[in-house]
């Protein structure tokens, strides 16, 4: 295991905390919020996601066009992959699991600290599922790669 620079750890901790704070403030850690969204009884979460994309997409586009230098990891690089079968199959499985467990990976952590004991089962299940897929890919291909939505390796970010 390689040790990450302290600055990366601090930035990671702060942005993780900011993310968790917004999730809690918007009640996204509550099963009922997600359940009502997926039953199409409330559109607030769809609007929230739209609002987040509406702000970040044009800003990132502009920053990318200016070849912005990031504070800790060189020039800003955005990932754009072509859709493949695993995006569709994986997305479908994720959607089914999301509907059944009523929370997704980040909100599950907030759900637990808000006092909901069953969220611990969700988190254990997530670790199991993620590692099951990782182990399967490592056996067949030998290594795993990050998708466009996952943290990836950049020069000095280990």
């Amino acid at each position: 295991m390689k040790k990450s620079p302290l600055a990366f750890k601090i930035v990671g901790l702060l942005f993780g905390a900011g993310f968790g704070f917004v999730l809690a403030a918007a009640n996204l850690h509550e099963y009922d919020t997600i359940h009502k969204m997926l039953r199409l009884e409330e559109i607030d979460v769809f609007l929230l996601m739209g609002g987040a994309i509406g702000v970040s997409l044009p800003l990132l586009w502009w920053l990318e066009s200016r070849k912005t230098t990031t504070a800790l990891a060189g020039t800003l690089v955005l990932s754009r992959s072509k859709p493949q079968r695993h995006h569709v199959v994986g997305g479908a499985l994720f959607g089914i699991g999301w509907a059944v467990s009523g929370t997704c990976p980040a909100p599950a952590l907030v759900m637990l600290v808000s006092g909901a004991g069953l969220a611990s089962i969700t988190i254990v299940g997530l670790f199991l599922g993620l590692n099951l897929r990782d182990a399967q890919v490592r056996r067949s291909v030998g290594t795993t790669t990050a998708g466009d939505g996952e943290h990836r390796s950049v020069a000095n970010a280990r």
Partner: protein, 177 residues
């Protein structure tokens, strides 16, 4: 030290706790959405990384189990999420409510059955997230914001699958869940 432990035990023994009702019960989408968008941009500007959770789970597991290719700072990001969530919940009027969670399921099913269903759902969700290369935050917000065609396809797929699955559960449960 015993005082700290005592205070913690007392805190967790309470069924509902708040520190200060500074936040509304639910921050409106038109504030929370743009705030999340700015966090996404901020994380790219600082660390050149998407604000997704799936990779953080994977790398946290690798870091804890001391795998050679672990990226240790991601564990700090992973830990930050519940810390920030803890602060957010503490600033609400309702605060912490000790409960099982999953009200709609618990109203119809026993605790054990709910736990098994939630576990199976979470395993499928984790497997699918790793296969797709991202989750709701990773593909659904950060990938789409990067204008990644793969993320737009994955997001549309998981949204559709989740809505259809919820509809299926609703029909099977006679509208109860």
């Amino acid at each position: 030290m015993p005082l700290v432990v005592g205070a913690l035990l007392q805190f967790f023994a309470m069924s509902s706790t708040t520190f200060a009702a500074l936040l509304p019960d639910r921050l409106p989408w038109y504030i929370a959405g743009p705030a999340l968008g700015l966090l996404v941009v901020g994380f790219f500007v600082m660390a050149n990384q998407p604000l997704g959770a799936t990779g953080a789970y994977v790398e946290t597991y690798k870091t804890v189990t001391r795998k050679a290719d672990a990226v240790s700072w991601r564990m700090f990001y992973f830990l930050g999420i519940p810390i920030g969530g803890f602060i957010g919940v503490a600033l609400k009027e309702d605060g912490f409510v000790r409960r099982s969670g999953y009200d709609a399921l618990r109203n119809e099913l026993s605790l054990g059955t709910t736990a098994i269903i939630v576990l199976i759902g979470a395993v499928v969700m984790g497997y699918g997230a790793r296969m797709a290369g991202g989750c709701t935050s990773g593909h659904g917000i950060c990938g789409t914001a990067q204008r990644s065609p793969a993320s737009w396809v994955a997001t549309c797929t998981f949204m559709a699958a989740a809505v259809v699955t919820t509809l299926f559960i609703r029909i099977v449960s006679g509208g109860a869940i």
